[in-house]
């Protein structure tokens, strides 16, 4: 019985996710208690996908220290630019002290249920190659790359010179030459893997 209810809740959640959530919740009269259950199922699924992506790339999702969480934040940011990884991740990012930061993602990795099983991740070899490139990036590269991408997103059609100038203004501890190198790397990755940004 419980399994059936669980299944039912999953279906309702899927519908809610695909459609106008607020309107449908109102339509179905889903109250707070049921809402919490749906949120818990959603969290577990998202945690499972997150662990699955890291496992697929041969990495453990390690969030035990601040430094490690920072790297996870940036890796997920970069990974979900790829159209094949995006459906498994798809976190909303805002800005924090070290560049783009997702409170939604933090919420997931802070509450990973003990019994979570990594989801099956079905991506192409080419996507895996991109994923491994992201996993090889150090923290500074991830931080600058994600900042560059946000500058490009907010300022469509901006010149490369202006991107470097603006990122350098935001992150003065990095030399312009370093930012140029990472900008070129980001542009190459975009071309090679059809990244969306």
């Amino acid at each position: 019985m419980e399994a059936i209810e669980n299944q039912e809740a999953k279906i309702i959640y899927w519908v809610l996710e695909k459609c106008d959530t607020v309107a449908l919740r109102y339509f179905y009269g889903i109250g707070d208690g049921e809402g919490e259950m749906l949120v818990a199922i959603d969290r577990k699924e998202r945690a499972s996908k997150l662990c699955g992506v890291f496992e697929k790339l041969g990495e453990r999702l390690d969030v035990r220290s601040f430094e490690k969480r920072l790297i996870v934040q940036k890796r997920v940011y970069m990974l979900q630019l790829h159209p094949e990884f995006h459906p498994y991740l798809g976190y909303h990012y805002s800005l924090f002290i070290h560049g783009p930061y997702s409170p939604d993602l933090a919420d997931i990795y802070y509450h990973i249920p003990k019994d979570v099983k990594p989801a099956e991740i079905d991506v192409s070899r080419e996507a895996l190659e991109y994923g491994r490139e992201v996993m090889r990036m150090d923290r500074a590269t991830l931080e600058i790359a994600s900042t560059i991408i946000e500058v490009i997103r907010v300022n469509r059609g901006i010149s490369d010179e202006r991107i470097v100038e603006h990122v350098h203004m935001l992150k003065p501890s990095y030399k312009s030459a370093e930012i140029w190198d990472i900008l070129l790397m980001v542009k190459n990755l975009k071309r090679k893997y059809n990244l969306v940004f």
Partner: protein, 175 residues
């Protein structure tokens, strides 16, 4: 003795900065700002927040229901720790303040984002018109990353003969 650095804070920074008990902020958000918090208490920087920032802060506190008083208490503690170096800033509608409407209009024209975010627009213009201000610290993606807003701020400050105003997240000592 050099004059103290004057910085404006947006609500997105003020909240996690004072929310040491993580009443409405996440652990990493509060922790990321620990160094900045310490440097503010140790240094001689002056903090100014616009009346809109204070309003947004109070709104957040009110909406946090049972934690309302705790959050306001945290702000009071921070203000007292700053020992007179924290103020709520409202530009007077004299002198440069007389240009408030014009500067606001210009800001709205330079980036559509500000048209839909009036509080951010007022916070930005308040900082632009504060001659003493050196930085506006914010976590608002559009304010920080927009080169149109950066250019507008630079031009306005140059026009009034004010020093440069940087719009960016708070500094971090870690690289």
């Amino acid at each position: 003795m050099p004059s103290p650095l004057v910085i404006h804070l947006d609500t997105s920074v003020l909240l996690p900065l004072v929310d040491k008990k993580k009443l409405v902020s996440k652990e990493d958000e509060v922790r990321s700002l620990n160094n900045f918090h310490r440097s503010l208490l140790r240094g001689n920087q002056k903090i100014k927040v616009s009346i809109v920032v204070l309003g947004e802060f109070l709104n957040k506190a009110i909406n946090s229901k049972e934690r309302c008083e705790d959050l306001i208490w945290e702000l009071q503690v921070f203000i007292s720790q700053m020992k007179g170096r924290f103020s709520v800033y409202v530009p007077k509608f004299r002198d440069f303040g007389a240009h408030f409407a014009e500067v606001l209009q210009g800001a709205l024209e330079c980036d559509d984002y500000l048209r839909d975010h009036p509080a951010d627009a007022i916070i930005l213009v308040t900082a632009i018109l504060d001659e003493e201000a050196s930085c506006l610290y914010t976590f608002d993606t559009n304010l920080v990353f927009s080169t149109r807003i950066a250019d507008y701020v630079r031009n306005k400050r140059d026009e009034y003969g004010f020093k440069r105003l940087r719009i960016r997240p708070p500094p971090t000592s870690r690289r």
